[in-house]
């Protein structure tokens, strides 16, 4: 399957297309001659400029979903377009909540499998994808067999976003298929968790805490250190599950992927599912009292010590520098 046309599932927030959307558009540009996007929301047209700048010649607009969860209506629209004879060779989907829903539904509608957890792509006539396994110690290369578009669900931060200087995308309305019962889920209210400082997945410094902190109140040390370093505070899943911090702080396979200049892991063991979310950081500092903790295998600087001693001392030292 030579790669000619790629579609990108574009997620658009109030402030514009999300970073992962721009990353996927950029990568689509390098593998295919024609790049088109699919988007939904009340105001897609006003982002046609950005989508075009990053490579989309055209954007199919599913429109305002009026509170419906995107999975069924967006997959339905894509399936109609494909069945109308307009199939791309591949569809790039961001590995987000809604992206995964769309991919799963579309997979059934097109009777095509999905390749998920993709972190890299390669073209050699055909398109193949790379997937980290066993906590990133190994890379699996996979590809689709048979006819029809390949659906790739790609993790954030797999590619760098760069504008290509294209003109504004042409906005074309997407079909609105009848969804029957599948479209029945409705968002009735939205809750936004306020957090101060830079966003976790955009911060240059991330300081994360884990179960080694011992108690929820000690997470304040993580927040204070993150603040002093103008960074964001993150967490392992163990303490998210324990209810110490909201889910939006979670780093790892089921949380955010981060690639900061420096990642500080305090009281985190370094389970494979945590490592896949932060291994790409430029520098890693780990503090753990167990010298055999797997986190040390990826650390540039590892301190075998007690977080309750090292963190307060570190905070003091940074404060005294002013």
């Amino acid at each position: 399957m030579p790669i000619d046309k790629v579609w990108v599932l574009a997620e658009v927030a109030e402030s514009g297309p999300t970073p992962v959307t721009l990353e996927l558009l950029t990568e689509a540009r390098t593998v295919a001659s024609t790049v088109e996007a699919l988007a939904w929301g009340p105001d897609t047209a006003s982002f046609a400029g950005t989508l075009g700048e990053y490579g989309a010649a055209r954007v199919y607009d599913v429109g305002d979903l009026g509170g419906a969860l995107p999975g069924a209506p967006v997959a339905g629209a894509i399936a109609e377009l494909v069945k109308g004879g307009n199939a791309p060779d591949a569809l790039f989907v961001p590995a987000t909540y809604d992206g995964r829903d769309v991919a799963g539904r579309l997979s059934v509608k097109l009777d095509r499998p999905v390749l998920t957890n993709v972190t890299d792509l390669a073209v050699d006539g055909d398109l193949s994808s790379k997937h980290p396994v066993f906590g990133g110690s190994h890379l699996v290369t996979a590809r689709f067999a048979g006819e029809g578009p390949g659906i790739f669900v790609i993790r954030a931060k797999s590619f760098a976003a760069e504008p290509g200087g294209g003109a504004a995308a042409e906005v074309v309305p997407a079909p609105t298929p009848d969804l029957g019962a599948t479209g029945g889920a409705r968002i009735v209210d939205r809750h936004v968790e306020q957090r101060s400082g830079p966003k976790l997945d955009e911060a240059a410094v991330v300081v994360s805490g884990g179960r080694g902190l011992g108690a929820a109140e000690h997470y304040a040390l993580i927040e204070e250190l993150a603040g002093l370093l103008h960074g964001a505070a993150g967490a392992s899943r163990a303490i998210v599950d324990a209810g110490w911090v909201p889910y939006s702080h979670q780093v790892g396979q089921t949380g955010k992927t981060v690639k900061p200049t420096v990642y500080v892991a305090a009281g985190i063991s370094g389970a494979t599912q945590h490592l896949v979310g932060m291994k790409g950081s430029k520098n890693i500092v780990a503090i753990n009292k167990d010298q055999d903790a797997p986190i040390f295998s990826v650390a540039d600087l590892g301190i075998v010590g007690d977080v309750h001693k090292v963190l307060p001392a570190l905070i003091e030292a940074l404060k005294s520098r002013g």
Binding site: A72, V108, V133, G184, A185, H191, I303, V304, L318
Partner: protein, 259 residues
């Protein structure tokens, strides 16, 4: 209310995992256990069923062998019965094939509510439950961190990038739960004993009317072409804190110009 929970039985994640050198699929030949991710689903189902009169929890699993130990764990926790789809032809089945098999088995249980985990520990494709929903023609609410039901609809707090959304959906529906939503109970001794006599309905592909060519290695329309060791990070400096740990970190941060 009929609550069906998808439970995957997986190789013990604590044991080192290995890929079959020829098929590049995960070696599942050893003993399988209940995926931890699904223990949250089982617990959620039991709690929801307890609040709606006349409810029953059925667990459904697909496996290439006749393994039931994971199902027994779920039965010991309190599920009433189990359906196991087991067929030699299932080895190597991809996520879509798995979803087709599970959907066919779930349909038999006439579910009002289907619960699964957002992703399995060993495969973590995270697509099977939504594929099942689409195959069954049902709505789905994924990434639930809280679920409530009165037997006719569900109210879900669904995780989002920014926080969470309140989502409502009438039943029947598929809901996927994240870990940590509830605290899975430990099976009691009584529960373990009772589980031994609970029904496990074992079905073959023929029972479900599924052609073996649609599943397994032959049905999978994706293939692994290579497995290689990833570039590993060069080993860093590991030092024992002698009271100077914080200073070392400061020095390191200076060196990389973060402070």
């Amino acid at each position: 209310m009929n609550v069906v929970v998808c439970v995957k039985q997986i190789p013990d994640p604590a044991a080192p995992a290995s890929l079959d050198p020829t098929t590049h699929t995960l070696d599942r030949s050893g003993k399988l256990i209940l995926d931890d991710s699904d223990s949250y689903g089982v617990e959620m189902a039991l709690q929801l069923a307890a609040n709606v009169e006349g409810s029953e929890v059925t667990v459904v699993s697909m496996a290439p062998n006749s393994e039931t130990s994971g199902l027994r764990t779920a039965l010991a926790m309190g599920a009433a019965k189990a359906i196991l789809v087991s067929d030699g032809a299932l080895a190597g089945t991809d996520a879509l094939g798995t979803a087709k098999v599970l959907a066919a088995a779930i349909r038999r249980a006439e579910p009002d509510l289907v619960i699964a985990a957002t992703e399995s520990t060993d495969g973590y494709t995270g697509t099977v439950p939504v594929q099942v929903a689409e195959l069954l023609g049902l709505p789905s609410v994924t990434f639930a961190k809280a679920v409530a039901t009165d037997g006719s609809s569900v109210k879900v707090e669904r995780q989002t990038e920014a926080g969470y959304d309140d989502v409502e959906c009438s039943l029947p529906a598929v809901v996927t739960v994240t870990a940590g939503v509830v605290e899975p109970r430990y099976p009691s001794f009584k529960g373990i004993m009772a589980a031994k006599s609970k029904p496990v309905d074992t079905l073959s592909l023929a029972d479900l009317g599924i052609d073996p060519s649609e599943v397994g290695f032959t049905g999978a329309r994706q293939e692994i072409t290579d497995v290689s060791a990833a570039e590993s990070r060069s080993a860093g400096e590991i030092v024992v804190d002698e009271g100077d740990g914080a200073q070392r970190i400061v020095a390191f941060l200076e060196q990389i110009k973060v402070v």
